[in-house]
Symmetry: C2
Subunit: 208 residues, 2 copies
């Protein structure tokens, strides 16, 4: 019998991840039973857990997927763009999935090993954000009176707020100008030139 090809393994892994993402989003972490994961992926439990040690590992692989995709957007366009995509429903993270991410909060709080594994994944996003901000600072686009680590933590805190907001099914229609303000907060305000408040039509002079 020929050995299973790497391509085949990768495709199978992808099939499991895509199906279980839908399953977790629909039923929540606890509600995503093995039977439901089988139905959603179209594969047997044997096949699923051949690729992933257990449900926790499967869930964390999805969180890692998120972090990688977000980090890609961050590298090119910054964390505020990640937020704009979430707000516009353009990302692959609908409210149901964001909600499932929130539902594991008790687990994150009470299970240090789980928290450690989760933190490892989300670290990628922090790193991508910090690197992007450092490049922006070198290019003179970033305010230089606040530490990059503080700006990174600020953007991440707003992202956490947005995830929570959308996961609770609260309306996001009025949050565009808020993200403009967030973006403006990390930007350099050029002396004399005035700075434009993005998303509004007016130009504001520093100190106005």
């Amino acid at each position: 019998m020929p050995r299973v090809s790497q391509d085949h393994l990768d495709a199978r892994r992808r099939q499991i991840l895509d199906g279980s993402r839908v399953c977790f989003a629909r039923h929540g972490y606890e509600g995503a039973t093995v039977r439901r994961l089988e139905e959603a992926t179209g594969l047997s439990r044997g096949a699923i857990f051949h690729h992933f040690r257990d449900k926790e590992s499967l869930f964390l692989a999805l969180a890692e997927d998120d972090a990688v995709r977000m980090a890609d957007v961050v590298a090119e366009q910054g964390l505020v763009q990640v937020m704009r995509d979430l707000l516009a429903g353009r990302s692959e993270h609908p409210a149901d999935w964001l909600g499932t991410r929130l539902e594991v909060s008790r687990r994150l709080r009470t299970d240090p090993e789980f928290r450690g594994r989760w933190a490892e994944r989300s670290q990628q996003l922090t790193t991508a954000t910090r690197e992007r901000l450092e490049r922006q600072r070198e290019a003179g686009n970033l305010r230089d009176d606040v530490d990059v680590d503080v700006l990174t933590a600020f953007l991440e805190l707003v992202l956490e707020g947005l995830v929570s907001h959308l996961a609770m099914g609260l309306p996001g229609d009025d949050l565009g100008p808020v993200l403009d303000l967030v973006e403006e907060t990390v930007r350099r305000h050029r002396p004399g030139a005035g700075h434009e408040v993005p998303g509004t039509a007016r130009t504001v002079r520093p100190g106005e």
Copy 2:
């Protein structure tokens, strides 16, 4: 038999709220069974549900309590102070309770009636925040190039992020300077005078 006095009713209601807050915090919304609520309050289910129609009403009464207390702090000191209190563990909202608030996110998302009842309560906090900002604007302490509604939504989004962050058991040690930045973002930057970035020792000229 004498009628039960209002004071007695109020004290009993308080006893139920205090006990069930601890119970919800420890076991989560679903885990707070009627038996556990009885143990935590020291009262029978009959007594508990004489005061509150059902578990949902009890939980929403606690959310309303939160909103009232936060609104009081907001009126005097602003929403950023609410966040500082959360961060310092000075509020009566430990991470466990914040986590339980997050756990109802699925319910909030999928049950419009529950979302409506929750929104009614949290509206108080929004109103208090907007009123405080309007007073600050009249006093000349607020930036006037961004709408008060946008500033209100900005502060609330950061609060949601902080609640989520703490509920997940993530460290808050490095968030003090982030809250300074948030506060500075809504403040008026006086022309020529330079503005101080709170929490740092230096004074920054506008546009620096």
